[in-house]
């Protein structure tokens, strides 16, 4: 005898990792952020990641609101500074699985310096950079990723600037995993996120995502779906492509794929091997005061 599932008994699987009391989201109809969150949720659940030990850090912007919807320890920090905050979390508690989820402007404009150095250090954090090519939350100002001919509120005649090639920047800085997908590529994105979650070191995934209200509306897209359809038509998957070749150029195909996947010792590994006998692991719960089992060894003399 076959049993038919009564849909009323089912809940959306992604709700396991979401703060249900915060839904519906603040994002616009047709915004791709929620779509990227699905890929992320399935990647987390598929790997059975310990959510208790997972922390998500975001900056300011629409993408920065992702942290507020994930049922993990969420830190909504300042504009551009999610990565250094995440660095602090990871260094003081290496057991934490630390993910930064933020936007293109936040991570590559105001936060660009921190992006470079965290990649250089190969800090063991995963960064998801949702690139909607605009500063959406604040009303649609140009970002380093806005196409030069596009209109934004602060660049009514266009920005005249070429877009930042984010994968190239991150690759050149030393990241051990660099990929780019779009919100259309839900499965590939999930797969990349899964691979990245399993890796150690600085992992970076750029995801192009529609912004119908602040970017699309002013630049010829009827809605978010129109941008999603364009991602479907205008992208070319080129895994392993050299990152200097993946700049986004108007009217040219957008190259997506996994570009960089290499092994490099992460910051903490390098630190421990170089410090050698000088370093004593902190007891798992010690936070100042109380007893410490390790003795002090050869401090500098005054």
């Amino acid at each position: 005898m076959s049993t038919i599932i009564d849909p009323a008994t089912l809940t959306n699987p992604v709700e396991e990792v979401l703060r249900k009391d915060r839904i519906p989201t603040i994002w616009c109809p047709g915004c791709g952020l929620g779509t990227t969150v699905n890929s992320f949720a399935y990647a987390l659940m598929g790997l059975g990641i310990n959510l208790r030990k997972t922390a998500i850090v975001s900056g300011i912007g629409c993408s920065g609101r992702v942290s507020g919807y994930m049922q993990v320890d969420s830190f909504h920090t300042t504009h551009g500074r999610a990565i250094p905050f995440a660095t602090g979390l990871k260094l003081a508690n290496p057991e934490l699985n630390v993910i930064v989820y933020s936007g293109d402007g936040d991570l590559t404009s105001i936060g660009g310096n921190h992006l470079i150095h965290a990649a250089r250090r190969n800090m063991d954090i995963m960064v998801v950079c949702v690139n909607n090519m605009i500063y959406a939350m604040t009303g649609g100002q140009a970002a380093a990723t806005t196409p030069g001919a596009a209109t934004s509120t602060t660049t009514p005649y266009g920005s005249f600037e070429p877009e930042l090639n984010i994968p190239q920047l991150v690759d050149a800085s030393g990241a051990c995993f660099v990929a780019r997908w779009t919100a259309f590529h839900v499965k590939q994105l999930e797969r990349s996120m899964t691979e990245a979650l399993k890796k150690k070191g600085f992992r970076f995934i750029e995801v192009l995502s529609p912004c119908p209200t602040l970017y699309g509306r002013r630049n010829g897209y009827a809605d978010g779906l129109a941008q999603m359809k364009e991602y479907k038509e205008m992208t070319k998957v080129k895994n392993g492509a050299p990152t200097y070749e993946v700049a986004i150029v108007p009217h040219q195909p957008i190259i997506v794929g996994k570009f960089v996947d290499r092994e490099r010792p992460d910051y903490l590994t390098l630190m421990r091997s170089q410090l050698g006998a000088n370093y004593h692991e902190m007891a798992a719960t010690g936070t100042g005061g109380g007893d410490d089992s390790e003795g002090k060894e050869g401090c500098c003399s005054c």
């Binding site: 791709g32 779509t35 999603m228």
Partner: protein, 85 residues
């Protein structure tokens, strides 16, 4: 019967149309009904074609829809919690 089906949480839907567009078997369309916010949530117009692949669920930015597979008539153990009607 269809291999799968969908569950729509109508009040979450913002009518973006991703699920309709990217369903591989064109099962969905936006309904003419309104939810409280005035959006048209999707409904199945070709339910027999639903495979339960959950691509709609993966695309939905508002967690308003997901697909699930109906258990094969031959297998003993259904997926998820089955409720005897």
């Amino acid at each position: 019967m269809a291999r799968g089906s969908v569950v729509v949480t109508t009040e979450r839907c913002k009518g973006c149309g991703f699920c309709v567009e990217f369903c591989p078997t064109h099962v969905l369309a936006l309904s003419s009904a309104f939810n409280k916010k005035g959006y048209h949530p999707p409904h199945m117009i070709d339910a027999d074609k639903c495979s339960g692949c959950n691509l709609c669920g993966m695309y939905c930015p508002d967690f308003a829809i997901f697909g699930f597979k109906q258990p094969d008539a031959k297998t003993a153990e259904p997926k998820g919690e089955a409720k005897e009607a």
